[in-house]
C-alpha cells in the first residue's frame, strides 16, 4: 500500500546529470609547494525523477556538497551536462539561468549562517517573491509570507521578528519557507538537519516529507547520517572521493549493499540499541587526500576485499540488479550481518 503511494508521487525523469565533473585547481605556489588540482567531482551521472528524493551520502570531503551546487550551477562545472525538464542548464545565458532559478532552490545546513541577521523574517522570505515577480504589491507579499509561515508550522505573527529571536529548528523552518516560496520543482537540501538537536531533527524531517507530499517537488538530499537518509530517501547515491560508487533504491542500498564501501559505511553506524550489534567492518586508515587520489579503484587502499586488479583498473559503475549500480570489480549484494 505504501508502494502504491510512492509510485503515485514519483513521476518521470526530471533531472538528468551526465558525466558531471569539477576540478578545483590551486594556482598559488606558496613556499614552493607544487600546484595541485583537486578533482572534487568526477564523472557523476544519474537522474532525479519528479517528486522523488535522491539522497547523496558520503563522508566529509567526498564531493557531495560540490555536486549539489553544480546541479544548481552555483559553481560552474568543469565538464558534463545537467538537463532540467529537457532544458540544458550549461548552455543557458545569465538571464535565462536567473528565471530557471525559480524552479530550483536550496536549503542550507547552518540555520544560523544562512539567514541575514539584519533582515526581518518577512523580508527574508519575500525576497525571492520580489526577485521572481511572484507577488507584486507589498500587501500580496505579506499575505504570501503569512501563508508560507503557516505551511512550515510557524505563526504568521513572527513575520516582523528577526532571526536571532528563533531557535535552530525554527530558523530551519524559515529557510524552508524561503525555499518553497517560489514554488520550486527541485530542492537541493545540503545537510538540512545535521546541525539540529535530535528532537527537533524529527520535526524538520517530517515537515520536509509533508511538503513534498503536498507539492510534489524533488529533493536532492545531501547528508552524512545514514539513519536520516533511510527515512527520507527513495533512492540513494553513495560517493567516495568525488565519484559515485553505488546508486540504487533505498531498499536495495540498505538491504543489499553491494559496494564494500557502502557495506562498511552501513555497518559503522552505531545502533541505538545495546543488544543488537552489527558486525562492524572497521576500515583501515583515513580517506586519502583528494588532491592525490589512488590509482585504479580509489577505495582500494582501505578496501577489505581489494585484489591486485583494483590497484590498476578503475571499476565502472555497472548494474548489479535492475536500477542498482555499483562500481566494484567484486560487487556482491550482501545484507549487513548482525551478530
Amino acid at each position: 500500500m505504501m508502494n502504491a503511494k510512492v509510485e503515485q508521487r514519483i513521476g518521470n525523469d526530471f533531472i538528468k546529470v551526465e558525466g558531471l565533473g569539477k576540478t578545483f585547481s590551486e594556482n598559488r605556489l606558496m613556499f614552493g609547494s607544487p600546484a595541485s588540482a583537486v578533482r572534487a567531482v568526477d564523472g557523476a551521472s544519474f537522474t532525479v525523477r519528479r517528486g522523488e528524493t535522491l539522497a547523496l551520502v558520503g563522508e566529509s570531503g567526498c564531493g557531495k556538497s560540490t555536486l549539489g551546487r553544480l546541479l544548481l550551477r552555483l559553481i560552474e562545472a568543469s565538464e558534463g551536462e545537467v538537463t532540467i525538464d529537457g532544458t540544458s542548464l550549461m548552455g543557458l545565458s545569465a538571464g535565462d539561468m536567473r528565471s530557471m532559478r525559480a524552479k530550483m532552490q536550496m536549503i542550507f545546513q547552518d540555520p544560523y549562517g544562512s539567514l541575514s541577521p539584519r533582515r526581518s523574517i518577512s523580508q527574508i522570505i519575500s525576497e525571492p517573491l520580489e526577485v521572481f515577480g511572484i507577488a507584486q504589491s507589498s500587501r500580496q507579499r505579506r499575505e504570501r509570507v503569512a501563508e508560507l509561515l503557516t505551511q512550515v508550522g510557524l505563526s504568521p505573527t513572527f513575520m516582523d521578528r528577526y532571526p536571532r529571536q528563533f531557535s535552530g529548528g525554527q530558523r530551519q523552518r524559515i529557510g524552508i519557507a524561503r525555499a518553497i516560496s517560489v514554488n520550486p520543482q527541485f530542492i537541493v537540501a545540503d545537510e538540512p538537519v545535521s546541525a539540529l538537536d535530535v528532537s527537533v531533527q524529527a520535526q524538520i524531517v517530517n515537515l520536509m516529507q509533508d511538503l513534498q507530499q503536498s507539492r510534489g517537488f524533488s529533493y536532492l538530499f545531501i547528508a552524512h547520517d545514514l539513519s536520516v537518509v533511510r527515512h527520507i530517501a527513495d533512492r540513494v547515491a553513495v560517493m567516495y572521493l568525488g565519484r559515485i560508487v553505488e546508486i540504487g533504491s533505498k531498499a536495495r542500498i540498505y538491504g543489499f549493499p553491494s559496494h564494500p564501501y557502502t557495506q562498511a559505511l552501513l555497518s559503522a553506524v552505531p545502533e541505538p540499541d545495546p543488544e543488537t550489534r552489527t558486525a562492524r567492518i572497521i576500515l583501515k586508515g583515513d580517506v586519502p587526500n583528494p588532491a592525490n587520489v589512488p590509482t585504479g579503484c580509489s577505495f582500494h587502499t582501505r578496501c577489505p576485499i581489494a585484489q591486485d586488479v583494483c590497484k590498476v583498473e578503475r571499476p565502472p559503475l555497472a548494474e548489479t540488479a535492475p536500477g542498482h549500480l555499483s562500481a566494484c570489480h567484486f560487487a556482491k549484494p550482501n545484507p549487513i550481518p548482525v551478530s
Partner: protein, 349 residues
C-alpha cells in the same frame, strides 16, 4: 518490575564497590549573582571503578558543563559551582586546595574534547605534547619517556609511531588527532577518562575506529569512562549506565538496557522514538513538540512539562524528585512514578 517504589530520592542501594566518582547535588550558575542563570541543577550520579557511564542530552541540557565542573574547569567568572559535592575516591574535589588539583587532573582524571585540532598545540610536535603530559606527573628519564610515548602511540593505533614523534598536529587527519588526544589522556594511566563528544566531529567510519579504540583502552587499562554525547548510538555502544539530562537536570538514570528497552521518563521515551534508525519501517518519525527551553528559563515544576504528552497538573508546579523505578533505574517523573506506585498497590515504601 516487582521492585517496590521507593519515594526517597537520595537513596540508592549501597553496593559493594565504592564509587570512583560520586557527584552529589551539583549546581552550576552563570551570569551576575543578582540574576543568575542556573545551567546545571542538582545533578547527582556515580561512576564505578572501571565502569562506563554516559550522559546524554540535547544542546543546553547542561551535560558538558557537568563534565567541566567535575574537572574543575568551569570558567569563573562568569560561571560558579553554587552547591554540591564532586567526590573522587572519597575526596571532595570542590573543597580541595586549588594548587593540589593538577595532581589529580591529568593523572587520575583525564579528559578528551570534541575538537581535536583546537585542543592540540599547533606549534609543538606530537611527541613533545604527549611527553609533556608524562613529564608533569611522572619521573622518567628522557629515554624512558620516549619509549613510553612510542608505546602510547602504538596503543592508539598510529602507524609508524617512531617516525611520527616529530610530526605536528596539522599533518594529522581529524581521526588521527583524536587518537593523539586519547594517547595524551591515557599517558599516566588515569582511573577516569572524561570524553566530551569525542566522535561528533568525525566521519562515521573514523568514529567506528575511535569507538573501537575506547573499548580497547577500557579493556587494557581498566579505565572508567564518563562519556558525554548527544548520540544515543554512541552511548549504547560504549556505556553500561546512562544519565539522561534535560534543561540542566537529570531526568533519568538507569542501566543501558533499561534506558533503551524500558525507558521510564517521557523525555527519554520521546527521544528514543524520534531518532531515525537504520532498520525501521516507520514512514513518519515521532516528534516531540516544541523545542528545548533556554537555560534558566524554567523556574518552577518539571522542565519537560511544556512538551510532555503525559503531563498532569502537579507537573507545572512541583519538580519531581528522582523516584526509584526498579533496582537499577530511577526517573524524575510524577506520572510514571504514580503509575508504578499504583501497579504496586499504592505501596510507597
Amino acid at each position: 518490575m516487582t521492585e517496590t517504589l521507593v519515594l526517597d530520592p537520595a537513596q540508592q542501594s549501597s553496593t559493594a564497590t565504592k564509587p570512583l566518582l560520586k557527584v552529589e547535588g551539583l549546581s552550576v550558575e552563570f551570569g551576575p549573582k543578582a540574576s543568575p542563570i542556573r545551567v546545571v541543577n542538582q545533578v547527582s550520579f556515580e561512576v564505578n571503578p572501571g565502569g562506563s557511564v554516559g550522559i546524554v542530552g540535547e544542546s543546553g541540557s547542561g551535560k558538558s558543563i557537568t563534565s567541566l565542573a567535575v574537572m574543575g574547569l568551569i570558567p569563573s567568572p562568569p560561571g560558579r559551582i553554587v552547591e554540591g559535592r564532586v567526590e573522587f575516591e572519597g575526596v571532595n574535589l570542590l573543597e580541595m586546595q586549588k594548587s593540589r588539583l593538577p595532581d589529580i587532573r591529568g593523572r587520575d582524571i583525564a579528559m578528551i574534547f570534541q575538537e581535536p585540532m583546537s585542543s592540540l598545540n599547533p606549534v609543538m610536535t606530537i611527541g613533545d605534547q604527549i611527553g609533556e603530559a608524562i613529564k608533569l606527573h611522572e619521573k622518567m628519564s628522557r629515554e624512558q619517556r620516549r619509549e613510553r610515548i612510542i608505546e602510547l602511540l602504538k596503543l592508539v593505533g598510529i602507524p609508524n609511531p617512531e617516525g611520527r614523534l616529530g610530526a605536528y598536529p596539522h599533518q594529522f587527519s581529524g581521526g588521527m588527532r583524536q587518537r593523539v588526544m586519547i594517547a595524551m589522556a591515557v599517558a599516566c594511566n588515569p582511573k577516569l577518562l572524561i570524553a566530551d563528544e569525542p566522535t561528533t566531529a568525525l566521519d562515521v567510519t573514523i568514529q567506528a575506529q575511535v569507538l573501537e579504540l575506547m573499548h580497547k583502552i577500557r579493556r587494557t587499562l581498566n579505565t572508567a569512562v564518563l562519556l558525554i554525547s548527544h548520540d544515543l548510538g554512541v552511548i549504547a555502544d560504549v556505556c553500561e549506565r546512562v544519565i539522561v539530562m534535560y534543561a540542566g537536570r537529570v531526568v533519568e538514570d538507569a542501566d543501558v538496557k533499561s534506558i533503551f528497552r524500558n525507558p521510564s521518563h517521557p523525555y527519554t521515551r520521546g527521544l528514543l522514538q524520534s531518532i531515525p534508525r537504520l532498520k525501521d519501517e516507520r514512514s513518519r518519525l515521532y516528534q516531540i513538540p516544541g523545542s528545548v527551553p533556554l537555560a534558566g528559563t524554567i523556574k518552577m515544576g518539571c522542565p519537560f512539562f511544556a512538551r510532555c504528552p503525559d503531563r498532569i497538573g502537579k507537573c507545572a508546579e512541583e519538580m519531581p524528585p528522582m523516584f526509584t523505578v526498579s533496582r537499577s533505574q530511577r526517573s524524575a517523573c510524577w506520572v510514571t512514578a504514580g503509575a508504578a506506585s499504583e501497579a504496586n498497590g499504592g505501596a510507597t515504601a
